[in-house]
């Protein structure tokens, strides 16, 4: 593909046998690979976006062009596959039902086997495997019931595209307020080309009556590789949001660069839980997703609370630091993470806790598990600014190693500008011992059960933060991800 950004889409269309020519037919399913202003205009037009949003995208793109891909990630055991940004197709309409598998019989049996192991209900398996949903069960009715309940409470929960149409003033007010459109290379790319994602707004004083989950937007799950999520919790409200699911999701894209922004007003609380299980590549490290995500929460109001919980088991490479900006006095930021790397997976993840307000508190618990030739890096920043009187941070960072070829690394950074603050950091590294496995075996417990028991024990503080059902799934997921890694 040509790199010349001046090439028009028409010229491309001719060269790439693109038979529809999208300028005249913006209903076309997929744009040919490549990125330039024209592509961004097409995406924006296709989504019927207001002018300000188009300009916002273009501004991000202009900046992105001047930025260079960061190279500071810690990937000791992975051959970096360069990302060819001009080889990515930046717009792809959701697959039409006739192009999808008609039933589970047409789905890769190995995928189904994994669903089975994870105990995923039959009807959900179909949706996850990309089977035309209507052919299997009526997802619309589920979604409708769900929406009605939320509507009664006044909660807005919809796809990002819908929000742009239906609540443009809210989107315009908050978009890019926590993660600016030029925050970093991948965030800028996302701002330029994001295609969809989720939007939630919890009005003042409302306790969201149910956990919000993309699960309930199952028919809109293919939000693409540049997903954007914005959650705003107004004064005194509460919401718990679940992202992702344990089932391995099929995806041929190499790069995922999502952006998540959370804003909690005075006395509001947002609990954001993620289970990430994108394709990790095969056991030789071939293929797999690059998951380079920017997630940040702003505790804007006094006594606000943002809590991140993540279970990361997928992707060939993970690069993300869900962070909290503790601006309001007495606000609280939390980060609970389990990151598991097996085979050739590499994860460089952690958090940033930026203390601005008085008596702000943050709590960080990170559990890294490395197996095979996997490497796990914890990278964290605790920054206490001069105005953050009596701020407190506690960080606990534990690593577990399985086998001789994996690695665990930690890069904690602490910057304190206020002498009244308290910062604690604890770290440990342990090895899952053959003697522990043998002990379990001796009592009649199989290798697999032993490993899963020991690993789950190691992660218990993080799992305790997950909603009950999610926690059960997460446990099963760890076991499946570690299969055959011991004994």
């Amino acid at each position: 593909m040509p790199d010349d950004p001046n090439t028009t889409l028409d010229q491309w269309a001719e060269r790439s046998d693109y038979k529809w020519g999208f300028v005249t037919d913006i209903d076309a399913d997929t744009l040919p690979p490549g990125l330039n202003e024209e592509v961004i205009r097409v995406i924006s037009a296709r989504k019927q976006e207001p002018e300000w949003l188009l300009q916002w995208r273009l501004g991000a793109y202009a900046k992105w062009k001047e930025m260079t891909e960061p190279a500071w990630g810690n990937w000791p055991d992975h051959d970096w596959r360069p990302i060819d940004y001009q080889a990515i197709s930046y717009y792809s309409a959701p697959k039409r039902d006739e192009d999808r598998p008609k039933s589970l019989d047409e789905v890769d049996p190995k995928l189904l086997e994994t669903y089975e192991k994870l105990g995923i209900p039959l009807e959900e398996r179909a949706a996850l495997a990309g089977v035309a949903v209507d052919a299997v069960f009526d997802s619309v009715s589920v979604a409708t019931t769900f929406r009605d309940t939320l509507k009664e409470a006044g909660v807005i929960f919809c796809s990002f595209s819908e929000a742009v149409q239906d609540y443009p003033e809210l989107v315009q007010k908050y978009l890019g307020k926590v993660v600016s459109r030029t925050d970093n290379f991948f965030a800028a790319l996302n701002a330029a080309v994001f295609t969809d994602g989720s939007f939630a707004y919890i009005p003042k004083g409302v306790r969201c009556p149910m956990e919000l989950s993309t699960y309930f937007r199952i028919n809109q799950m293919n939000t693409g590789q540049f997903e954007r999520t914005l959650i705003v919790a107004d004064e005194g409200s509460y919401v718990s949001y679940l992202e992702g699911c344990t089932a391995p999701q099929r995806d041929e894209n190499q790069l995922h660069a999502a952006v998540v922004e959370l804003i909690a007003m005075e006395d509001a609380e947002i609990k954001y839980s993620t289970i990430q299980n994108w394709y990790p590549g095969d056991e030789n490290g071939v293929g797999g997703i690059y998951n380079f995500v920017t997630k940040r929460g702003l505790c804007a109001g006094d006594r606000s609370h943002v809590s991140w919980t993540q279970v990361e088991t997928g992707s060939a490479m993970t690069w993300k630091y869900p962070s909290c900006i503790l601006k309001g006095d007495d606000s609280v930021g939390e980060f609970y993470s389990v990151a598991l790397t097996n085979n050739y997976q590499q994860a460089d993840t952690g958090t940033k806790m930026i203390h601005l307000g008085k008596r702000t508190r943050s709590n960080v618990v990170s559990k890294g598990i490395s197996a095979g030739r996997g490497h796990n890096t914890y990278r964290g920043l605790v920054k206490i600014l001069s105005g953050a009187e009596h701020a407190r941070n506690y960080t606990q960072c534990d690593s577990m190693l399985m086998g001789p070829d994996c690695g665990a690394h930690t890069f904690p950074v602490i910057e304190v500008e206020n002498p009244t603050s308290q910062v604690e950091h604890e770290a440990s590294t342990s090895k899952i011992g053959e003697d522990q496995i043998f002990y379990c075996n001796q009592r009649g417990i199989s290798n697999e059960d032993a490993v899963s028991m020991i690993v789950n024990g190691f992660c218990r503080e993080v799992f305790a933060e997950l909603p009950m059902e999610f926690a059960v799934e997460a446990k099963a997921l760890l076991s499946v991800s570690l299969e055959d890694s011991v004994g």
Partner: protein, 254 residues
Amino acid sequence: MSLLEIKNLHACVDGVEILRGINLTINPGEVHSIMGSNGSGKSTLARVLAGDEAYEITEGTATLNGVDLLDMAPDVRGREGLFLAFQYPVEIPGVSTKYFLRTAVNAVREHRGLDELDAFGFLKLVKEKAAWVQLDPALLDRPVNEGFSGGEKKRAEVFQMAMLEPIMAILDETDSGLDIDALRIVAKGVNKLRNPDRGFLVITHYQRLLDYIVPDVVHVLLDGRIVRTGDKELALELEEKGYGWIEKITSTSA
């Protein structure tokens, strides 16, 4: 049929031969004791029987109830009813003892074709068996062996044995590090488990344990071989004359 039958068992670790032809037959209901000085191969025998892969078996056979034991994976041996009370039980952080044991008990029960024990039935059993060795039930909410004193670890091993009801139990220096009161308690627990179907192999350094767990047969292990077999009197004689005596008489007879 004998319960445990070991014939000409040789095993080595890192190329060094530790067991050099063990022959041993234990019948149902019998308690055998193996005594020997440090490095004679006592613990190696226990771990080899349990299936520790650190040891390489170079020759010989071992059967449990007539079935080839050496061919089974360690967890299968456990489910088949072989139990080893470890000399140094490992700690498993984060895994509560109760949860661990329930998984083990149910794995064994499943293997025996029994129903899973529900939470209520399990806790009832825990209470009953913990009392046998005067183990504080509060300990069982802690991670496996974590923060247990030396004596508590040994009592916990016997407690686990009582929970799992093995057919062949091996105790590897369960008496080491125990004071006399704890020793009595542990022995009492073991004696409660003695029955006509169950076999015991009690490995010890000292005769004093055998005052409380009275063995039917005593073997003396030296340099990886059983050099003498007798009854309880042999243990007393050994205590009196020391291991040097055995070495001496063995080298004379050799």
